[in-house]
Structures are given as C-alpha cells and as structure tokens.
C-alpha cells in the first residue's frame, strides 16, 4: 500500500521553517508513527487482540487492555471533520506569513482515528466539512533531526470513494 516517493504524494513545506520539530517521546512510544511518515507510510496502532484502532499511540489498547498494540499501515485517505484558519502569529517564524488552514480529519480506514494537518492550497478557500482528502507527505530531510509531516488536500470528485457528507 506504500505510496511512491513522487511529486503526487509529496509536497513542499506549507509553513515557514522554525516551528517545533516533532520527535518521539524519550521512551519511544510514538517512534513507529513518526518513522513511518518518513517512508510515506501512515502507521496507526491496530490492536491484534480486538481490532481497535488507536491514535495517538499508547502502551495499551484502550478497549481490551492488550499491551503494545502493533502499528499497521493505513491508507492516507480521510474526511474533513473540522477546520480553522489561523491568522494571529503566535510564533516568531509565522510573523508576516498570513493565514493558514488546519484541518482535523477522520481516516476512512481506521474508524475513530483523527489526525491534524494543514489543508494544502489557497488558505482563503472555503473548507468543506465532510469532504474527502488524501494525505501528502511533507519531507524535511535536511532538518535536524529530519522529519516528515502528513498534510491533506481535497480529492477530485472522480477519485472520491463516496459522496461528501
């Protein structure tokens, strides 16, 4: 299911450099998630005992209490659940940048799992709650430490799995 590392699945940086770089906790709990993004893979905990999906990662499944739920790759396809357009810069690197859009999305193939990201494209575009989006990997290979963000963009009508709801 892994996507190719081509222009259709990767994107340039949406926000200016200088925001905090995401890293796993010192105990490594979320390392499989962050490492997965670097390889264009969305890795979500998927309990081997009861099948529950869970994000962010935790040491046990919240439903059946099996420890160390394994990470499975899921398709980077989702639906917009909510959004915001941020204007006021609260970090020095955003001074003068202008508005940007953040979305909370629900993954199509991992029930109950939400992720955050920026909605790529014109930040002044109307954001349709319920619209289908696909994940795009934003690599920061030269950062120290290197990292990858998962961003989202609206899907053309012809490629949607189901109508917008």
């Amino acid at each position: 299911m892994s996507q190719g590392n081509d222009a259709s699945t990767t994107s340039p940086a949406y926000l200016p450099a200088g925001l905090p770089i995401p890293v796993p906790e010192a105990d490594g709990l979320s390392a499989p998630f962050w490492n997965g993004l670097r390889e264009n893979r969305v890795m979500v905990q998927h309990c081997a005992a009861c099948g529950t999906f869970q994000h962010g990662p935790e040491w046990l499944c919240h439903r059946c209490h099996a420890f160390d739920p394994p990470f499975d790759e899921v398709a980077p396809r989702a639906r917009i659940y909510s959004w915001e357009r941020a204007w006021h810069p609260v970090h020095a690197c955003l001074d003068g940048h202008g508005p940007y859009v953040v979305v909370v999305v629900e993954l199509l193939d991992a029930p109950g799992v939400r992720m955050l990201g920026n909605l790529l494209g014109d930040p002044m575009t109307e954001v349709p709650i319920g619209a289908e989006v696909e994940g795009v990997f934003e690599h920061h290979a030269d950062a120290k430490p290197p990292f990858t963000l998962l961003q989202w963009r609206l899907i053309d009508a012809a490629r949607r799995r189901s109508p917008t709801r």
């Binding site: 905090p20 915001e84 204007w87 953040v102 955050l116």
Partner: protein, 393 residues
C-alpha cells in the same frame, strides 16, 4: 450510609483580590500578589490569616503553600491540594478540593487562590520556543497549532457546524462580558465598551474566534476563604454555601491528537450532571452564571452541556438581552469575566459568584440564591461549582 456530598457542608466567608493588571504590568512579584489576595480575603472574612490551615490551587500555580504558610506565619499547615491539569479547568476544582478537605476533617480554614504575573514567568498566548516537541503537541505544533485558541477553535467550529450556530451567538457572549465590565471598576476593560460593529470589524485570531472572542492575559491574584458550614455565621458577610461541585471529563477526553470521541464538547457532558446531582438541582434553579471564557466557543458549548439550552436553540438563547443583568433571563459573566474583568484564570468568576449570592455585584442579578461557576471549558479535567444562599440549604 449517608450520601457522600459537599452540599451545605462548607461556607465561603471571605473573598479578596489584588488590583488587576494588563499582562506583564504588575509592579509586584507573583508571590507578593498571592500574599495580598490572601490578606484581602482574610480581611473580608474578618479572620486572622494565621488561622488558615489549608491551601488549595490549580493549574500548577507556582505559589507554594508551605512558603505561603511560612510567610503568613500560620500556626500550622494541614491540607495542601493541587488540582491537576492546565488552563482554568481547575478553578472550581480548587474550591471543591478545599471544601472536601474541610468536610473530611483534614482542615478547618482553607484558602483557595490563584496568582499570575506573566511578565515574571511568560505568557500563555505565545508558543514555546523549544526546537523539538514530543507528546500531544507533536501532533499539533508543527502544523501551526500552538496556542490555546488554535487548539480549541476546531472544537467550536465542529459544534457550530453540527448545530447551525452562528457567529452572532459568540458575539453575544463577548458583548455580555464587556457590557457588565462597564459597571465594574475592578475590570481591566472598564470604560472600554464593545459594540457589534467593533466586534465584527475586529481581526481574526483564529476562525471562528475574533479578537474579542479570546480572553485577555493578565496579572493579579485572587483568593477565597472557606470554613465549615457550622461556623458560617461567625463572620461578617452573608455566608455563601457550596451546593455542588464536580471535576473531570467525559470518556477519553485526554486522548492525544484531537482523538477524544466526543470532540465538539466543552468536556462538561458528564461533569455538569454530577454537579447538579450533588446539589439536587437543575439548570432552571440557577439564577446567574459565570462561565469561563477562554474563548466564547467554550462558553457556548459549556452552557449547552449544563442544560441551559439545546444546541440547536443556541442562536435563539444567546441573544445579548438574555445575558444581561438585571433584566436578562440568564445573566452571564456579570463582572466582565476573563474577557473584560481580568483573566485571573477564571478565579475572578468564583469571587463574582460569591458577590452575586451576597447581593453585592456591580451587575446584580435579581435571582441570586443560586449561582453557577463553570471552569475552563475544553481542557481536561474541567470543573464547576454551584453556590447558594442559606435559603437554598
């Protein structure tokens, strides 16, 4: 077994605060602000502050109770409680924990307090500048979700989307706070009224929040003194009793990365029924409401979750005239609250509820026997508090 409850067991007999300042403007150190507030509350109660034997606070307040008790020269130190969690989610929890200490015999005279000097210690509304981030904020900060407003705007947006709530409902909440602040000389926004046009023209901070939907950041301190109900009449002020209180949040609200199942929520869906259950009351019994405005969207959801209106009735209910003292059907944030009196992390709302029950508010509600305080919507844990007069016991 008797019902486990705080109802009628504890009385608030003293309140006090410092001058409220714009953020970073306090001439006093944070600890000194706390001392001033405790002394003001003691004076209001007519007690010797050396009698205080319990301390309660929240949000990792930096004012350590052992240092406070040493500075005040209290005869002894007994109960010390800190409500876990950030934001103003513990503003009522501090009262609940102090009241629980009194009810259980762990202390006889508790002061609950909050002190903030942001010039001394840094602001809430600015992002941390560390180069890397782990844990819950790692899923947010790299996407520009750094400040409390940016973390909560999407909850409010989802609620507004689900229930058709309009921007004008948020505007009415903001205007109620500003309206009441014009009658309150303590208020930082005293003399600075807000009009519909000024709200509409104000810049976006993060949609759906305009500038005036967001709380101020301030310096100051406030304190509340509690004693067992049996002693309530030994003090000069009309006693104000704890009728109910609750803390916490719904199922898995603490899930990282915006994964709480009940997303479009102020976190009060379970906490509100617990408080009303303890008090043996419901929203119709409440005459006046102080509801923590970190952002107006939190007030919107918190009022709905406390049963004042159904979500789909929000536009109709949240009209300015309904929210004003004395004529409105549910006077809201009658001191100006976090938006316009002072962002004392919501503790100013507890003091205002006490004033309402005493009958000494600058924007007095006519139905003032039962006053509600709602603390810190959208965080976890949150907390709430129902206060009442002797007639409600």
């Amino acid at each position: 077994m008797t019902k486990r409850s705080l109802r009628g067991r504890v009385a608030i007999v003293g309140i006090g605060e410092t001058t409220y300042y714009r953020h970073s403007q306090s001439p006093d150190a944070e600890f000194k602000l706390a001392l001033k507030a405790v002394l003001a509350a003691s004076k209001d109660a007519g007690i010797d502050p050396r009698e205080i034997d319990g301390f309660a606070s929240y949000s990792n307040d930096r004012t350590d109770p052992s240092r406070l008790s040493a500075a005040l020269g209290t005869r002894e130190l007994r109960s010390t409680t800190m409500q876990w969690g950030g934001g103003g989610g513990g503003s009522c929890g501090a009262i609940a924990n102090g009241a629980a200490a009194i009810t259980s015999g762990l202390a006889d005279c508790v002061v609950a307090y909050r002190a903030l000097a942001q010039g001394e210690f840094g602001r809430f509304g600015k992002a941390p500048t560390a180069p890397t981030i782990a844990g819950d904020m790692a899923y947010q900060a790299p996407y520009g979700v750094l400040s409390p407003g940016q973390k909560f705007a999407m909850k409010a947006r989802r609620f507004m989307h689900e229930h058709g709530v309009k921007q004008e409902a948020l505007r009415a909440i903001a205007m109620a706070s500003y309206h009441h602040a014009q009658r309150n000389p303590r208020a930082v926004m005293y003399g600075k009224p807000l009009t519909e046009a000024r709200y509409d023209d104000s810049r976006w901070i993060v949609e759906p929040f305009h500038l005036f939907d967001c709380c101020m950041e301030n310096d100051g301190a406030a304190a509340v003194i509690m004693v067992p109900a049996e002693r309530a009449k030994d003090f000069p002020n009309r006693p104000v009793y704890v009728l109910g209180a609750a803390t916490g949040s719904d199922h898995r609200v603490g899930a990282n990365a915006h994964n709480q199942p009940n997303y479009a929520s102020s976190s009060f869906s379970t906490v509100a029924p617990h408080m009303f259950g303890m008090a043996g009351m419901g929203p119709k019994d409440v005459g006046v409401v102080q509801s923590y405005e970190n952002f107006t969207g939190g007030v919107l959801m918190a009022l709905a979750e406390h049963g004042f209106f159904k979500p789909e009735e929000a536009n109709e209910f949240l009209q300015l005239e309904n929210l004003l003292a004395p004529g409105g059907k549910m006077p809201l944030n009658t001191s100006g609250g976090n938006l316009a009196e002072c962002y004392m992390h919501g503790f100013e709302l507890v003091l205002e509820a006490v004033r309402q029950v005493r009958g000494t508010s600058t924007a007095q509600a006519p139905r003032n026997d039962v006053a509600l305080v709602i603390g810190g919507p959208m965080v976890t844990p949150v907390s709430n508090l129902l206060l009442g007069s002797e007639a409600t016991l």
